[in-house]
Symmetry: C2
Subunit: 146 residues, 2 copies
């Protein structure tokens, strides 16, 4: 009576978990010396590309709950890396912005993360990289479609 389960060696799901775990480990390794976590970095990178993002929007972009992002923003605000208005302009949304200190922090971190990403895909040529990215996007869409 053998278990008709998932062959971990060839399961795309397992391989994806393995790869993302390796990516996570590699990113933590380069961010730790900078005193940053992955969520910390993700938050800064998101704000650099789309300034004024709200707490909830940042949470979705960093793939954590808005509660988790909330505590992250509190500490980033305390450290003077980001700033938020005391009162919302309309509704409840508090748009967040990078400070100069935040931009400086991000510059270093972003270079380090770019190096990791480059290392990850070093065995894939341009066409393969774009094909790979497209497949990942397809997987994401299919999973979310339910």
């Amino acid at each position: 009576m053998s278990h008709e389960g998932i062959d971990l060696g060839t399961s795309v799901g397992y391989l994806m978990k393995e790869a993302s775990s390796a990516l996570r480990t590699a990113m933590e390794a380069v961010l730790r010396p900078l005193g940053m976590t992955i969520t910390h970095y993700s938050c800064l990178e998101l704000l650099a590309q789309r300034p004024g993002l709200s707490n909830s929007e940042l949470a979705r972009g960093a793939f954590v709950t808005r509660q988790s992002m909330h505590v992250m923003l509190l500490s980033l605000e305390r450290d003077g890396v980001v700033s938020r208005p005391g009162q919302p302009e309309s509704g409840r949304v508090l748009p967040t912005a990078l400070t100069e200190k935040g931009r400086a922090q991000l510059a270093t971190a972003s270079a380090a993360v770019r190096a990791v990403e480059k290392r990850m895909t070093r065995d894939l040529d341009i066409d393969e990289q774009s094909r790979f990215g497209f497949m990942l996007t397809q997987c994401t869409a299919s999973l979310r479609a339910g």
Copy 2:
């Protein structure tokens, strides 16, 4: 002065994080009704395929620390899902085995997870799936090579 960072929309790293986050969410959604977490399920699946795995080996296979797996095994043992000898045969390694209850639990969970994985790759044909898996493996290897 624009930020020369990572374009999140096309970054392979970001797309991978997005996909693995979607996979995680989908797996949690099907495992939660069964009263199982992803680590819980991973542990059972590993044991089904390679009976007698030690705590440390299970940890590596599930991509968590051996300390985390240790507390997981304690609760699985308490629930009668796995069993370990009271004393090691040699060294300090305690080989773990699934109980009948554990096998039953796994059968249900494994079917649910297989369905999720199938959904994830439903837009990829056989060749693309194998190509995708190979690319993931390459990424993992490159990241670990440092």
